[in-house]
Subunit: 446 residues, 4 copies
Amino acid sequence: MACRTEFGPSQPFKGAKITGSLHMTIQTAVLIETLTALGAEVRWCSCNIFSTQDHAAAATARDSAAVFAWKGETLQEYWWCTERALDWGPGGGPDLIVDDGGDATLLIHEGVKAEEEYAKTGKFPDPNSTDNVEFQLVLTIIKDGLKSDPLKYTKMKERLVGVSEETTTGVKRLYQMQANGTLLFPAINVNDSVTKSKFDNLYGCRHSLPDGLMRATDVMIAGKVALIAGYGDVGKGCAAAMKQAGARVIVTEIDPICALQATMEGLQVLPLEDVVSEIDIFVTTTGNKDIIMVDHMRKMKNNAIVCNIGHFDNEIDMLGLETYPGVKRITIKPQTDRWVFPDTKSGIIVLAEGRLMNLGCATGHPSFVMSCSFTNQVIAQLELWKEKASGKYEKKVYVLPKHLDEKVAALHLGQLGVKLTKLSKDQADYISVPVEGPYKPAHYRY
Amino acid sequence: MACRTEFGPSQPFKGAKITGSLHMTIQTAVLIETLTALGAEVRWCSCNIFSTQDHAAAATARDSAAVFAWKGETLQEYWWCTERALDWGPGGGPDLIVDDGGDATLLIHEGVKAEEEYAKTGKFPDPNSTDNVEFQLVLTIIKDGLKSDPLKYTKMKERLVGVSEETTTGVKRLYQMQANGTLLFPAINVNDSVTKSKFDNLYGCRHSLPDGLMRATDVMIAGKVALIAGYGDVGKGCAAAMKQAGARVIVTEIDPICALQATMEGLQVLPLEDVVSEIDIFVTTTGNKDIIMVDHMRKMKNNAIVCNIGHFDNEIDMLGLETYPGVKRITIKPQTDRWVFPDTKSGIIVLAEGRLMNLGCATGHPSFVMSCSFTNQVIAQLELWKEKASGKYEKKVYVLPKHLDEKVAALHLGQLGVKLTKLSKDQADYISVPVEGPYKPAHYRY
Amino acid sequence: MACRTEFGPSQPFKGAKITGSLHMTIQTAVLIETLTALGAEVRWCSCNIFSTQDHAAAATARDSAAVFAWKGETLQEYWWCTERALDWGPGGGPDLIVDDGGDATLLIHEGVKAEEEYAKTGKFPDPNSTDNVEFQLVLTIIKDGLKSDPLKYTKMKERLVGVSEETTTGVKRLYQMQANGTLLFPAINVNDSVTKSKFDNLYGCRHSLPDGLMRATDVMIAGKVALIAGYGDVGKGCAAAMKQAGARVIVTEIDPICALQATMEGLQVLPLEDVVSEIDIFVTTTGNKDIIMVDHMRKMKNNAIVCNIGHFDNEIDMLGLETYPGVKRITIKPQTDRWVFPDTKSGIIVLAEGRLMNLGCATGHPSFVMSCSFTNQVIAQLELWKEKASGKYEKKVYVLPKHLDEKVAALHLGQLGVKLTKLSKDQADYISVPVEGPYKPAHYRY
Amino acid sequence: MACRTEFGPSQPFKGAKITGSLHMTIQTAVLIETLTALGAEVRWCSCNIFSTQDHAAAATARDSAAVFAWKGETLQEYWWCTERALDWGPGGGPDLIVDDGGDATLLIHEGVKAEEEYAKTGKFPDPNSTDNVEFQLVLTIIKDGLKSDPLKYTKMKERLVGVSEETTTGVKRLYQMQANGTLLFPAINVNDSVTKSKFDNLYGCRHSLPDGLMRATDVMIAGKVALIAGYGDVGKGCAAAMKQAGARVIVTEIDPICALQATMEGLQVLPLEDVVSEIDIFVTTTGNKDIIMVDHMRKMKNNAIVCNIGHFDNEIDMLGLETYPGVKRITIKPQTDRWVFPDTKSGIIVLAEGRLMNLGCATGHPSFVMSCSFTNQVIAQLELWKEKASGKYEKKVYVLPKHLDEKVAALHLGQLGVKLTKLSKDQADYISVPVEGPYKPAHYRY
C-alpha cells in the first residue's frame, strides 16, 4: 500500500507488459493490483499445481489481469498455463518477468535453445530424449510452438528487459546459467534481499509452522519434543517457534557454524538416528533430500507427527513410505494422514503428503511477510524498467542494491509505529556512509 | 585446545616470528601459548592502555613470550611498547602480525612513509604538524627510529608475510589502504568471519552486558526499561540479554532493516528524544559518535544508568558531561561514577567513564567467545604462513575462506557435546556442495 | 488413557449412574468413554448451546452413553436437554454429577426449592416472576415437572452422592450456597486443582489464543502491539504467547501484585485509555465485565482485532457496538466480523462475536490440557463414589485433596518422557513430608 | 522510600523498641533507617556469621541503631550478639522482633523454658546435655543470664507484642510451636506473602544465579548444559535464567506437578543419575539434603561447576567431598575452589563451599527484591504494633493479610512506571470484591 501511495501517481510502469509465474493467492492478487496500479499490463500463471486459491484467481481475472491458474492443475495444464502467460501475441513476449522457481525463465531458455538447434539442423526437440516426465511436457510445448512460429522464444528473449526471481531454487538456476554463459537477459536475485530471505524464511516460518501444526492436528506443542532438521533461516524460525511454544527442541545439522549457533541458543544438536524414537514432532527445513527415510519412520513413537517446511516433498521419503509393504494410510482429514505399519501396528501422522505443510495445512506465510517479499519484486521490476535503456544491467544475475533493500524495509515501518533516528551529516561522515543510506556494507549479515 | 591437539605435532609455525598487538588478558595468554605450542616465536604488546591484566602479562612473560604491556600505560608508553614488540633485532621485524585495532600495522605504514620521504628529501617527520596528541607520539617514535636506522620500517615491511586483523576499526583502515593502493602487505580480515563477528558481538555482549551491569551496580534488571542504541550484532545481543532478564527494551536505529528486525522481536523502536525521561538503563552499541549527549543526560531520571558497549567513549558525550558547569562527580567505586547536575540535584550513574563497560566493569567476553575469535587468528596466521611463498595472497585484504571459518566452528563443537549429521555424496551433489564443506555460499547471512 | 490402564480392571464405578453437563466435544467423548470403561452408566448434555461437536455427540451416543446435545440449541432446547440428562427414570436421578458451569446443579436446587414451596403452599413457580429470559425457561421446566411428579428433584437430591464442578463460575455459586446453608449435597471444586487451574488457564490459553488469532485472521503476530486486559492465569498465558510470537505486549491490571508480576516479565502496565489508539490486537481475559467499551472501539486503529478469551461476552461491550447508530457489520467469515463506524469509516475486527475466541475461532484447548482437567473430574468422581458411605464429605465444597492433584499430574508424565527423582525416607523426614507425597503444603502457589 | 513518604509523618512506631536478627547488609541498613524514620528505637544483630557487610554495620551504628554484628563471627560471638540485641536493659526486652531464621525467637523460647524449669526445680540448664555444638552455646548463654536475672526471658516474652519472620525455616519452627502449643507470642509469617515468596525466590534467584556464576567463574552460560535440582520457586527462577542465557536446562524433581510444569516450559525432567556426566553446571535449589553426593561428583565432566542456591550447604555433600581419600582442593579465588579426584585427575569447581552461592559469590539479591521483602517486614511490624492492644492477634502464626500484601506491591509500582486500572463499583460488585481490594481469594496462586 505504501508503494502505491509513493509510486502510483507517476505511473512508472506505463507501457510495460509483465508476465508473472507465482502462486496465485490473495497476497499475489495484491501484488498484481499494485503492478497495474503503477501502470503495467499483466498476465499471470501459478508456479505450483496446488497453490492457487481459486477465489483469488477469479477476483484478479475480473479486476486486474489475465490469469491462467487453478487449484489442482495437471502437469500438462501447468505448462500450458505458463506458456499462455508468456504469450502476449504477435509483438513477442513480456517486457518483464516476475518469477518464482524459474519455470517461466526456463521455458524461454529451453525454447531459444530448441529454436537455435532447429535453425541449425532443422530438428525438433524430442520429448522422448528424457526420462523426466515433466521435462517431456516442456519439450512437447516447445515443439508445438516451434511448428507455428520458429522464432517465438527468440523474439521473446529479445524483447525482455529482465526477470526478478524470488526463490533459492530459481536463483541457483540463474547463477548456473550465468556461470555457463547461457543467461539470455538480466536477472535480479530478489531471494537474497535481507527483507526477503530473513523475513520470508525466518519470520514467515516462525509464524506458519505452529499455525500449520495446530490447524492440522490440534496438538499441544508445550511439553513435546520437536526435531528440526536443519538450522538455516527456515530452521531458525521453526526452532524458535517450537521453543517459545514450550517444546524441547533438538536440531540436526551438517554445517558446524549453524550447529554452533543452535547450541548457543540452548538447543541440542544430534543426528536423527540418535533420537528418532523420542521425538513427538519432526520438521524438515533443509532444502535437501532424503532427510527422513521410511526406516526412520518405522522407529518413531506411535502418532509422531512428520512434516516438511523446507522445500520439495523429497525431504521426507514419501515414496519409501507409500511403497512400504503392508503400510496402511488413513486420511484423518485432507492433508492429515495417519500411516500405520503392519508389523508394529504403530502409526505416524504425515502432514500435507510431505509437501510444504504451511501451504498445505495452513494458509502459507502471513500477508505481512509476503508484503516484504513482493515489495522486493515490485522494487526490482521498477529498477529493471527504469534502467532498461541505460545498460546498467548486463546478462548477469544481480542482487537488489542495498539502498533498495532498505527502501523495502522503510516502506513497512509506518504500519508498525516505528520511528527511525536520523543520522547527522557529521555522524554519517564519521562512519563513512551517506546520510540517506545505504548504511551497511554488502557483506553485512544482519 | 582442540587447535593444539590437531596442529601441535606438526609444528606448522616453525621458524615464524609473530608480533601481536592485542589486549594482554588471560585469554590472550592462551592464544600466545597456542602460537608458541605450534612452533612460533612471539613478542607482544597490548592494544589498549587499560586492558592489560598484569598477572596474565607476567605469566606470559615467564612462560611463552616477550611482553611489553601493563595496566595503565601512558600514551607515550603505549607506543613505545608497540615499537618494542615489532623490533626483532637486526634481522628486521616479524614475519606475521596479529593485530587488534591496527596500531602495529599503522606504525609500520607511517614508518615506511616517513622513511620514503626522508630518502627523497632528507626531512624528518614533524610531530608538530598535527594537532592529534596521539599521532604526535607516533611521529616522534618514528623520527627517533629514523635517526638510528633509516630503513627500519622498510626492512620490516619487506620481511612481513602478512597481518590478521580482528576489529571493525582495524579492518576499515585496511580496506581504505587497499582502496588507496597504499597497503604494504597481505591482510586477512578476521573480523568478518562468522565465528568472529556473530560470536564476539552477539553472544559475547549478550553475556557481558548483564555481567557488567550487575557487577557495577547490583541493579535488578527485571522490571526496568532499557534503551539500546543501535540494533547491529552488538545491539541484538544486548537487547536479547535485557529482554530475557525481564526488562522492557526500546531500541534506537537509523537503518530501516535493523529497525524492522527489532520490531519483529517485539521491541519498540523510537528516537532517544521521545523516551529519554522514562529509561532506567541506557546502552550505546553503535560504533558511531554523539549518541547520548549531555542535554539528554540532563533530562534523565535520577540514577539512570548510562553505559557504552559499542566502541570508543565518544558514543557518550563524556566531554560535555565533564565540562558541564557545576556538575559534580561522585565515584561510588572504581568505574562507577554518579554525576550530579547542579540545577536539578538529580544524578546519573556512568559506567567505565563511557568506555567499554564490559571491559571496565566486568572481565570482557567470556573465554569461549574469545576462543572462537582467537582460533580465527591462529587459523588465519597458519594460512598466511603456509601460503607465504605461493603468491596466493597479494597486497590486499582477504576474508578468511569459508572452509576455515567452518573449521573454527568445528573445533569448538566437541566441548559442547554437539554431534553433526554427515552429508551423503548423493545429498551433497543434490545441493551442489562438497561433502566436507564449505556448505554455504559466500554471501550467506547465518 | 493412563487412568483406564490403572483403574479399569477393578471397575470402581460399578453401579454408579453419572450425569454430565459439559461441552460435548471429542475430548469429552473420551472422558465419557473413560467413565464407562471404569464401570459407570452415563447420561450427558452440553453446558453451552454452541459448543457441541455433532460428530462427537453422535459417536458417543452410538458407543457409550445417552447424549442430549447438538450444535446450535435454542435456550429452551438447552434446558430440556439438561433435564433429560438428569432423568434416570423412576429410581430417581444420578448418583454423581459432572458439572461445568453449575447448570445441572442449579436445576436440582431450584427444583427442590419449588417442590418445597409447593408442598407448603400448593403454589407452582411463576416464570413471569423474573425478567431473566433464561430463568423463565428454568422455572417453566420445573413447573412442568412438578405437575407430573411433585418430588422429582427431592428424590434426586436424596440419591445424589455429590457433584464435581470445574469452572470458576460454577464454583462461585457452590461457595455461595455453602455460605447460605442451601447446598444440598457434597461438592468437589475441581477448578482449583493446580492441574486444572494452572494448566487449563495458563497453558491452554497460551496455546489457543494464537491458534484462534491465526485461524480467524492470518495476522502476523510478530511486530504487532497486543493489549492483554488482565494478568491472572489466563492473562499470563496470553501475554506469554503474544510476547513469544514477537509482539510487544501491554497489560492492564487492577491488582498491584499481578501488575508487579507483569512488570518483572518486561511487560508495560498501563490503563486502556492511555494506549487505545496504538494497539493492533486487544484480548480480554478478566472474567469481569465492561472492559472494552464502544467508546474505546471508536478510538482504535483501523482493522484493530478485538477478542475475548476470559469469560462471558460482556467483557466486550457487544451491545454498545451493535446498537451504535449507523455502525455496519461485515461478516468476513463465520466468527470474524468487521464493524465499521459511520463517522470515521474506520473498522475493527471482532472475533467470535465477543464470546470465547478460542472456542469460536479455533478448537478450544488442546487435548492434553483437557486431559488434565478431565482426569481431575474422574479422580474427583472416584473419590466421591468411594467415600459415599463413609461420611467423609458433608454438604460442603471441598478442594480435591493435594495427593489426588499430584496423582493427576503423575498420570500424565509417562507420555512426556518425564522421569521423577525418588525421595529417600531420610530426605522425606528432613523436609517433613511422606515419601509418596503430597509434597507441598495446601497454600503452596506453584 | 515510598513507605517513609507515606508513613513517616505520623510516626506510627513512636515508643516501639524493635530488635532485629537479620543479615546486616546495606539493604538491611535501609530497613533499619526506615524503622527509625517511622519512630522506632532499634537494636540489631545478624542472623549469619558470614553475611555482615562491615561498612553497612558501621554506617548503621553511626546513624540509626545499636548494631552487634561483624563479618566472620565465631558461633559463640554470634549468640552473644543475639543476646545483646535482645537486651534493652532493666525494662525488659523489645516490643517487636524482626526475625530471619528464628534465632532471636528461639533464644527467648529456650530462655523461658529454662527459667520455668529453674523456678520449679532450681536446676540450671546443662550445656553437656546435647551433642549439638551450637545448642551448647545457646544453653551456656541462658545459664549465664539465669544467674544474673532468673526472669530475664520471662519478662521479655511478657513485654513482646510479636515477631515477624521471613524465612521458610523460621516459619516452620513457628508452626511447630503453634502445633505444640508452646508459642509464646503472636507471629506474622512474612515468608508466605506473595510479594516475599515469589519475588525473593523467583525473581531474586533469576537475577543472582547468573550473577554469581559470572563473578565466580566468567563461564559463558550459552551453549552449556545446566542441571537445576528442584523446580519450586527458586528452581523456576534458576531454570528461567539459565534457559534465557542460552543454556540447555535439565530439571530433577520429586513432585509430579512441578515436574509437569517444567515440561510445559520445554525443560527435560530426568533423575541426576541419568545425566550426571553430561552436565556443565549443577545448581541445587531444593531446601532438602543429600542432593549431589560425592559419588555423583566423581562421575562429572572435568571442570563441571557445582553450586547451591537452595538452603543449607548439605544440599551438596561437602563432607563427602572433603573427606574423599586423596582429594585435592585448589582455591582459585575466595569462594571458588577446584577439587581434584586422585584417580581420574579430573576436577570440579565448587562455589561458596556449597553454601548459598548468590551470597558467597555475588552480593545476594538485588535491592529491589529486598525492598519487597523488607516492606513486608515493615508492614507486618506496623500491623502488630497497631493491634497491640486490640487482641486481634493471639499466640498464633498469621499470614500477612492479603490487603497488606497488595499494599507492599502497590508501594513499588510508582518506581517502575506502572499505572493501574481502577475498578468501578459496578465491576467490583460483579466479581464480589471491594473496590479498593483485596482482589483475590486467599488460596489464589498468582
